[in-house]
C-alpha cells in the first residue's frame, strides 16, 4: 500500500529537486559577477588608500565617483553626443553588414570578390583611418559615424554570412518541393536560421560602437566623450578621465543589455523553460 504514493511522488520530488538546483545555479550566476566587480573595486580602493600607488598615477574609485558627480552635467552632454554617433553608426553598420551579407549569399562573384577585401578592411588600425575620415569629412559628426559604421558592419556581415550557411540543406529541398523560389526560401529558411548568429554579431557590434565613436572623437572634433578625454588628459585630470571611461563602459554595457533583450523578444522559440508536450491524451 505504501509503494504507490512513493512511485507517484518520486518523479515529482526529483523534478522539484532539479528545479531548486536550477534556481540556485541561476542566482549564483547573477551574484558572482557582482561580487567579482565589487572585489576588484575594493582592492583598487585599498591600493589607493594605502598609497601603494600615488594618486596622480591612479585615482581611487571614490575619487572617480567624485569627479563623475562634479562634472556630471558636462559628461552627460558629451556622452549624449557620443551615444548619438554610436547609435547612428551602429544602425548604418547593421544596414551595410546586412546588405553585404545578403549580396554575398545571393551572388557567388560578390562573395569571392568581397571576402578578402572585408577581412583586409578589419586589419587596418582604426587610429589610422580616423584622421583620414576627419580630413575628408571635417570635424562634425559624419566622420565619427562613418568610423562606427566601418567598425560595426564586420561582425554583422560575418555573423549573417555564417548564419545563412548554417541552414539545413534538406530544409531548402523541402521548400523547393513546395514550389518556393530563391527569395521565399531566403525569407522562410535562411533568414530565420541566421537570426541567432545575427544577434551574436550585433552584441559584438554594440560593444565596439561606443569605443569606435570615442576613438574618432579623440582624433579630432568639438564634442563627445573622446574630446572631453583629450582635454582632461592634457590637464592631468585623471579622475575625470576615469569618470569618462566609466561612462563609456556603462553605455556599452547598456547597449549590450538592450541587444540581449531584443534577442529575447525577437526569438521566442529560443526561450528556455518551455515544456515539451507529451503524447498523453493525443493518441487516444
Amino acid at each position: 500500500m505504501n509503494e504507490e504514493p512513493i512511485e507517484t511522488l518520486e518523479p515529482f520530488s526529483r523534478s522539484h529537486h532539479r528545479d531548486a538546483k536550477r534556481r540556485i545555479r541561476r542566482s549564483v550566476r547573477a551574484i558572482v559577477p557582482c561580487l567579482a566587480v565589487a572585489t576588484l573595486l575594493g582592492l583598487w580602493q585599498l591600493v589607493c588608500t594605502l598609497h601603494l600607488v600615488p594618486s596622480f598615477m591612479l585615482p581611487s574609485p571614490m575619487q572617480v565617483l567624485d569627479a563623475l558627480l562634479a562634472d556630471g552635467e558636462l559628461l552627460a552632454a558629451h556622452g549624449a553626443v557620443t551615444l548619438a554617433e554610436a547609435l547612428m553608426g551602429l544602425a548604418g553598420g547593421v544596414a551595410l553588414g546586412f546588405l553585404i551579407a545578403v549580396a554575398m549569399e545571393r551572388f557567388f562573384l560578390v562573395d569571392a570578390a568581397l571576402s578578402p577585401l572585408i577581412t583586409i578592411s578589419q586589419t587596418i588600425p582604426t587610429v589610422a583611418v580616423a584622421p583620414l575620415l576627419v580630413l575628408w569629412f571635417g570635424y562634425d559628426m559624419l566622420p565619427k559615424v562613418l568610423l562606427v559604421v566601418l567598425t560595426t558592419f564586420f561582425p554583422i556581415t560575418v555573423a549573417l554570412a555564417s548564419g545563412f550557411r548554417s541552414v539545413d540543406p534538406d530544409a531548402i529541398d523541402l521548400l523547393r518541393t513546395m514550389g518556393m523560389g530563391r527569395w521565399r526560401i531566403f525569407r522562410y529558411a535562411k533568414l530565420p536560421a541566421a537570426a541567432d548568429s545575427f544577434f551574436s554579431g550585433l552584441l559584438m557590434a554594440a560593444a565596439y560602437a561606443v569605443v569606435a565613436a570615442v576613438v574618432a572623437e579623440w582624433l579630432g572634433g568639438f564634442e563627445g566623450l573622446g574630446v572631453y578625454m583629450t582635454r582632461v588628459r592634457k590637464s592631468y585630470d585623471y579622475d575625470s578621465l576615469f569618470a569618462a571611461v566609466a561612462i563609456i563602459s556603462g553605455v556599452s554595457l547598456l547597449l549590450m543589455v538592450i541587444v540581449k533583450a531584443l534577442r529575447y523578444g525577437c526569438m521566442p522559440w529560443k526561450r528556455r523553460g518551455s515544456a515539451v508536450m507529451t503524447e498523453e491524451g493525443k493518441d487516444a
Partner: protein
C-alpha cells in the same frame, strides 16, 4: 483500376558526383496506390526520390505526372523527407500551413484550413507550440499533415518512421496508412525494412544492383495481395512469407541464384526468423 498512371519514371538514370548510381529505372504509380520502394542502404533510393520530386536533374530519362513531363521541376509532387524538417522558429500551425502559404494562400485562410485538420492528426491544443516542444510522434504527424496540405496528387515519403522508437513506429505506421487511405492519396514510401513494406504497401518495388558493382535499378516488384486493413492477419500467413521471400530474393539478386545454382530464391536468415 490499373489504367491511370499518376506518376511514371521512364528509364531514369541518375548520377551523384559524376558516378552513375541508378540506371534505367522504370516504373509507374497507379492513382490511389501505396507503393513501397525497398533497397539496401546506399542503393540510391533517396536519390531516386529526389529525382521524382524534381530536386535533381536526371542524366537520362523522364518523370511524368499524369502524362506531363515534370522532369527536374520541383513543386509538382509532395515530398516528405527523412527528417521532419519543421522550421524551428515557426509555431506548429504555421509550420503545417507552410505549403498553403507557398501556394499563395493568405495567412488567415491557410491557418484556418490547417487548424481544421489538427484534431484528425492528434495535434489539437498544440497549435502555438514550437517544434522543440513537441514529442517525436507529434512532430512526425505534423510533418505528414504538412505533406498532405501540399495538395499534390502524388506523395513521396522517405523513411517517415525511421526517427521513431519501435513502439511508436508500429502505432504510427497503421495510422499513417489510414490517413493516406482516407485522403485517397497516391503514395510511394521508402523503407529498407521488408516487414514494414509488407504491412503497408499494395505493391513493393525493389531497387538493387543487378551485378556486384555498378548502378542500381528496379529489379522487380512484388504485389501484396491483401487489403490494407487486414495486414496483421496477412503478415502471419504463408502468402506473406512467400511475398517476403520474393522481395528478399530480389534484394540479393543475382547472388542467391548464382550461389545456389537454381532460379528459386533462398530464404535468408531474416526470413527464417519470421517463420519461427
Amino acid at each position: 483500376m490499373r489504367s491511370v498512371a499518376a506518376l511514371q519514371a521512364h528509364d531514369l538514370t541518375l548520377a551523384w558526383q559524376d558516378e552513375v548510381i541508378v540506371e534505367g529505372a522504370s516504373f509507374s504509380l497507379v492513382r490511389g496506390e501505396l507503393v513501397c520502394l525497398v533497397g539496401r542502404s546506399g542503393s540510391g533510393k533517396t536519390t531516386l526520390f529526389h529525382a521524382l520530386a524534381g530536386l535533381i536533374e536526371p542524366v537520362g530519362g523522364r518523370v511524368l505526372l499524369n502524362g506531363a513531363d515534370v522532369t527536374g521541376r520541383p513543386g509538382q509532387v509532395s515530398y516528405m523527407l527523412q527528417k521532419d524538417l519543421l522550421l524551428p522558429e515557426r509555431r506548429l500551425l504555421d509550420n503545417v500551413a507552410l505549403p498553403l502559404l507557398a501556394k499563395g494562400m493568405g495567412k488567415k485562410e491557410a491557418r484556418a484550413r490547417a487548424a481544421a485538420l489538427l484534431p484528425e492528426f492528434g495535434l489539437e491544443g498544440a497549435e502555438r507550440a514550437y517544434p522543440h516542444q513537441l514529442s517525436g510522434g507529434m512532430r512526425q504527424r505534423a510533418a505528414l499533415l504538412r505533406t498532405l496540405l501540399m495538395d499534390d496528387e502524388v506523395i513521396l515519403m522517405d523513411e517517415p518512421f525511421s526517427a521513431l522508437d519501435a513502439l511508436t513506429r508500429a502505432t504510427m505506421r497503421g495510422w499513417f496508412v489510414d490517413r493516406l487511405t482516407a485522403h485517397g492519396s497516391t503514395a510511394m514510401l521508402i523503407t529498407h525494412d521488408v516487414d514494414e513494406a509488407l504491412s503497408v504497401a499494395d505493391r513493393i518495388l525493389v531497387l538493387a544492383k543487378p551485378g556486384l558493382r555498378g548502378a542500381a535499378t528496379i529489379v522487380g516488384e512484388v504485389v501484396v495481395d491483401a487489403p490494407r486493413d487486414s495486414r496483421e492477419a496477412y503478415l502471419l500467413s504463408p502468402a506473406a512469407l512467400d511475398a517476403k521471400r520474393k522481395v528478399l530474393a530480389l534484394l540479393s539478386w543475382p547472388s542467391v541464384e548464382e550461389r545456389s545454382g537454381d532460379a528459386s530464391p533462398q530464404l535468408s536468415e531474416e526470413g527464417a526468423r519470421v517463420r519461427l
